[in-house]
């Protein structure tokens, strides 16, 4: 198989396990071709980069991925490297302890982020009246600033900003992990450009293997890995530690690829799925994704060997944008099958 002159990864710069592969160049070694790491700022930037064919593989949150797939961007999800557990939390001022208590208060979260969806779902599950909560979208640093002024009563955000809010009198009232009890997982994706995946399926496999290696490496030596990453990214070690340990890592069985199914879902069912979502502005992905999760919904599993958690993750991921009615024969492979 021929290899491209370079493989282009887009990364958001946060502390993640695959950065270990950036540090020791194990992706480059596995591919036999250099990897170009392209930084991006927000989910919408990744979508642009994909649309402009400037990147091949990216790791980013489920919500922009959903927006991209819904807008027929030719990308596909190839894996779920991490599930958000305690790295994103809802911090509130003293006295506020529940979602219900937020009614009539002001809450901020970063726009179009996993935190935002976690908040929306959490509100829903807690049966709080969303319309009574005054929500604001602010970037994380702005959240800290607004918090210090007392302009906001609560914020759903990630580290190190959560720690700052806590240091300033905030108390955690919710963490994304608690959604798992309701079968809701919020996670990040590995996404590949379809054209690239079609041309270099081997590379995609190798990519997933190395990514999993790096998870394993982290699990073996958490402190050492955190130190390496902190040094590489110039981030305080504490931030790296808490972020990495605030994520859950699905087992290697969770990383899979299922192209045909993916295409069908993305191209037909996804769109149909939207149409069937009741009572939502169809053109509006945010409104749509706010209504993603329906605890108790039945879904078919894409890969029988996936752990329950990952199956859930995968489904949630797709379900944000569709309600697959039927799933065909398993046609993919799993890393480690061969």
């Amino acid at each position: 198989e021929d290899v491209p002159a370079e493989v282009r990864f887009a990364y958001a710069g946060g502390p993640r396990t695959w950065i270990l592969g950036k540090i020791d160049k194990s992706f480059d070694k596995a591919f036999g071709t250099p990897v170009k790491w392209i930084p991006f700022g927000s989910g919408s930037d990744v979508l642009t980069l994909f649309a402009a064919k400037e990147i091949d593989i990216a790791r980013f949150g489920s919500s922009p991925a959903a927006a991209g797939i819904a807008r027929k961007l030719p990308i596909e999800v190839i894996g779920t490297p991490e599930i958000i557990a305690t790295s994103e939390r809802l911090i509130a001022r003293n006295g506020l302890t529940t979602f219900k208590g937020l009614e009539g208060k002001t809450v901020a979260y970063p726009p179009n982020s996993t935190a935002q969806y976690a908040f929306e779902v959490g509100t829903k599950l807690a049966k709080a009246d969303r319309s009574k909560i005054n929500v604001l979208t602010l970037k994380p640093a702005e959240i800290v600033a607004a918090w210090k002024r007392g302009d906001i009563d609560a914020a759903y955000v990630w580290g190190p900003f959560t720690q700052q809010l806590e240091a300033d009198g905030g108390k955690e009232i919710f963490a994304t992990r608690e959604l798992q009890k309701h079968g809701v997982l919020i996670f990040n994706n590995f996404v590949v450009r379809k054209e690239f995946a079609a041309k270099y399926p081997e590379l995609v496999t190798k990519f997933l293997r190395v990514a999993q290696d790096k998870v394993d490496q982290y699990k073996k030596d958490r402190e050492g890995s955190a130190q390496q990453i902190a040094q590489h990214l110039n981030i305080p070690l504490e931030t790296v530690r808490s972020t990495l340990s605030g994520l859950q890592y699905p087992s290697d069985a969770c990383l899979y690829r299922h192209r045909q199914r993916q295409e069908r879902l993305a191209h037909r069912d996804l769109v149909q799925g939207h149409r069937q979502l009741p009572g939502r502005d169809r053109r509006d992905p945010q409104a749509r994704s706010a209504g993603i999760l329906r605890p108790g919904d039945q879904y078919h599993l894409p890969a029988a060997s996936c752990s329950h958690q990952v199956r859930q993750a995968w489904l949630v991921n797709l379900n944000g944008y569709s309600r697959p009615r039927q799933v065909g024969q398993r046609q993919g492979w799993l890393p480690g099958d061969k």
Partner: protein, 239 residues
């Protein structure tokens, strides 16, 4: 035309540059149902309202301050470092500080638009003073004009054509920074609409927003040129 063609022929991915035909459809949709529960005209009104207020204050404070800085070497020397330091700062980077000082309400948005145009107006006005005819200033002084009167009756009108240019440029700057302003906890406004739609790859809405931003900016400029023709008709005349 070029644009519709490039879309139709597939030169540019319609995902990134929707053809005008799509755009027209989006206009109709947004006009009827609004974007995010807010009608299109309201996004437009909110943004122009914010901007016009900020521009008015920036002009009212910036022109006199700039002229004064240009006239008085001492005053200029004291204030210039601040202005020259702040002016080239990217306004996006200042947002957290602005929030600390002005909160997340309209104050912060006003300030961000205001400060970007204000600083440029100050610099432009203070530079315009150097072009003021020394001869005419001398004439005014022999006619008993006080410092304030020299300022109002000679420096201001003499510098006016050049000040108008600076104001036009500065208002362009201010309008550009609308988007930075509306990144701060907004939920309406053209800038916000563009940013928000961008994060969902709603390129049609983004493009519509851009077109509206461009046209409004154009309209502001046209208005200023009209004012200039009305209030500074002597531009370029030797007398």
């Amino acid at each position: 035309m070029l644009w519709q063609l490039s879309g139709s022929l597939g030169w540019v991915d319609p995902l990134l540059l929707p053809p005008p035909s799509d755009l027209w459809q989006t206009v109709q949709e947004l006009a009827i149902s609004g974007y995010r529960q807010t009608p299109l005209w309201q996004h437009f009104a909110v943004s122009t309202g914010r901007a016009l207020l900020a521009f008015a204050v920036a002009i009212a404070l910036g022109v006199p301050l700039g002229l004064a800085m240009g006239l008085s070497p001492l005053f200029g020397a004291v204030l210039n470092p601040f202005v020259q330091f702040l002016r080239p700062l990217p306004k996006i980077a200042l947002i957290p500080l602005v929030i600390v000082w002005f909160g997340i309400g309209e104050g912060a948005k006003f300030f961000l638009i205001f400060i970007s145009s204000f600083l440029s107006i100050v610099v432009g006005a203070s530079a315009a003073v150097h072009g003021v005819s020394q001869g005419r200033l001398r004439a005014a002084r022999t006619l008993g004009a006080s410092r304030r009167q020299q300022f109002v009756h000679v420096v201001l009108p003499d510098a006016l054509p050049e000040v108008f240019t600076s104001v036009r440029l500065s208002i362009g700057i201010g309008w550009t920074s609308l988007i930075a302003a509306e990144m701060v906890a907004a939920n309406s406004g053209l800038g916000w609409m563009v940013i928000n739609a961008g994060s969902y790859l709603r390129t049609d809405v983004v493009l519509l927003g851009i077109v509206l931003l461009g046209l409004t900016g154009y309209a502001f400029d046209w208005l200023l040129q009209l004012l200039q023709r009305r209030f500074a008709p002597w531009t370029g005349r030797d007398a």
